[in-house]
């Protein structure tokens, strides 16, 4: 049986005063972490804006692409083998080669890639064809409501309403970061939906089907919002209120 507790022992038998360093360091470190959660995003944004992605990229977690793949594999597609099949509620179903896409009017801009899990990469150069131009090339029918996208990985799918797909910063991209889109980033051709979280920008784009209702894609079936707006709300939303 204990005769004294060790706290008594500390005060009674040891004249030297004890300092609760453990508690202080613990609270100090967790407090620092709490500040990091509260302001880490702003610090990263500030540094990124002030010094460009070079310095921001040095911070842990900052300005670095995380490469995600649903299947754990990267579909390798030769440029010459690449095909984008556009079908569904269209007047002229068409299969585009990479050269077909490159022959269309070029749209390019520099925009941030923002992942839903928090990381972002500012100032990414994008180049490709407006989704709007592709829709015009095949002629969508009146009853069309949404687009469904498929990937060469045979797992990922995505969706956009026609209104969303018509936005001027939604493209089928074949260049990114000043070079052809790499396999890791979803090359040779991927979607880039600038005003939405990264999961909407499907990689290894293989097919677009024009459909009469929104079909939630892979990530949406796994809990992400169907309307992946970066700011949560704005922009043309989904007509079906059950799909937010």
């Amino acid at each position: 049986m204990l005769r004294t507790t060790s706290v008594d022992l500390v005060s009674a038998q040891e004249p030297t005063k004890r300092v609760p360093v453990g508690r202080r360091v613990f609270l100090g470190v967790t407090g620092l972490a709490a500040l990091g959660v509260a302001f880490g995003g702003s610090i990263q944004n500030f540094l990124g804006n002030a010094f460009g992605s070079g310095l921001g990229g040095l911070l842990p977690g900052g300005d670095r692409f995380r490469i995600y793949s649903i299947t754990g594999e990267y579909p390798k597609i030769k440029d010459s083998d690449y095909r984008l099949k556009v079908s569904g509620l269209v007047h002229h179903p068409k299969t585009f080669t990479l050269d077909d896409l490159k022959a269309m009017p070029v749209t390019s801009f520099t925009k941030t890639f923002q992942c839903v899990t928090g990381w972002r990469v500012p100032d990414v150069a994008w180049e490709g064809v407006l989704l709007s131009d592709i829709m015009d090339a095949v002629g969508i029918r009146d009853e069309a409501v949404a687009l469904t996208f498929e990937s060469y990985d045979r797992s990922d799918t995505e969706s956009l309403t026609i209104d969303q797909a018509r936005l001027s910063d939604v493209i089928v991209a074949y260049r990114m970061l000043g070079a052809p889109v790499t396999t890791e980033h979803g090359g040779p051709v991927r979607l880039y939906v600038a005003p939405m979280f990264g999961y909407k920008s499907l990689k290894w784009l293989s097919a677009i089907r024009v459909v009469d209702r929104v079909q939630p894609g892979f990530w949406e079936q796994n809990g992400y919002p169907v309307n992946g707006w970066l700011d949560g709300t704005t922009g043309p939303t989904n007509p079906d209120p059950s799909l937010t």
């Binding site: 004294t4 500390v10 470190v29 972490a33 959660v37 911070l59 977690g61 793949s69 594999e73």
Partner: protein, 217 residues
């Protein structure tokens, strides 16, 4: 006499860690190991898929993460947790001498406790990062409840502390394998009395005095 002291080959053994403490240490170490191992492909991306599909790595990381506080909590809270609780108090309470020892990087005199100030710092750090990684990891997992700015902050902190954890754990393991006597005590529970006299003199004096702080079981 509550202190187990057995004489074998002229080595007097002093119990340093009871079974519960050793089990808690190794369960915690295993979870840290699994988390750090799975963290590498999560962070660098390009390695996954070579060994395991990413979602599997994510699941392992998540479940080990959620299990991370269990060894500490279970070992502290049960009736079996007296040794653990006493050591938490030791790790918390520092003498001025210990603070000075740390400030002078070990150049001032020290009548060492069961743990030296460096070991105490390691324990405090591990306690703090378990909480921090659990909270930020849960924010990464259940991101829908948090604003983008908070998610970004959580990713930032989860990553920053992951770096710190790698540094501290590598340091901890280096110290462990270069200090064989202390290392033995986390496997077998005991240290030699000679070792304790040099490296944990204050603690040895306390246990020897039979002052009611039995470290043995």
């Amino acid at each position: 006499m509550t202190v187990t002291q057995t004489t074998t080959h002229h080595v007097v053994r002093v119990m340093r860690f009871d079974r519960v403490q050793r089990a808690a240490h190794w369960a915690n170490a295993a979870l840290f190991g699994a988390l750090m191992f799975t963290a590498i492909p999560l962070y660098f991306g390009s390695f996954f898929g070579v060994v395991l599909p990413r979602h599997l790595i994510e699941q392992i990381h998540l479940w080990c993460g959620l299990a991370l506080p269990i060894p500490i909590i279970v070992s502290l809270l049960g009736p079996w947790g007296r040794g653990m609780r006493r050591d938490v108090r030791r790790v918390n309470a520092w003498t001025r001498q210990e603070i000075r020892w740390l400030q002078t990087r070990g150049r001032s005199p020290l009548e060492a406790d069961k743990f030296n100030p460096g070991q105490k710092l390691n324990a405090i750090f591990i306690g703090a990062v378990i909480l921090i990684m659990l909270v930020t990891g849960s924010m990464l997992q259940w991101f829908r409840f948090f604003s983008v700015s908070l998610r970004q902050g959580a990713t930032f902190v989860h990553d920053a502390f992951a770096f710190a954890i790698f540094a501290v754990v590598i340091g901890h393991i280096t110290m462990a394998i270069t200090h064989r006597d202390a290392l033995r005590s986390i496997f077998k529970g005991w240290v030699s009395e000679q070792w304790a006299a040099v490296h944990a003199s204050r603690w040895l004096k306390e246990t020897r005095d039979g002052d009611g702080s039995p470290d043995a079981r």
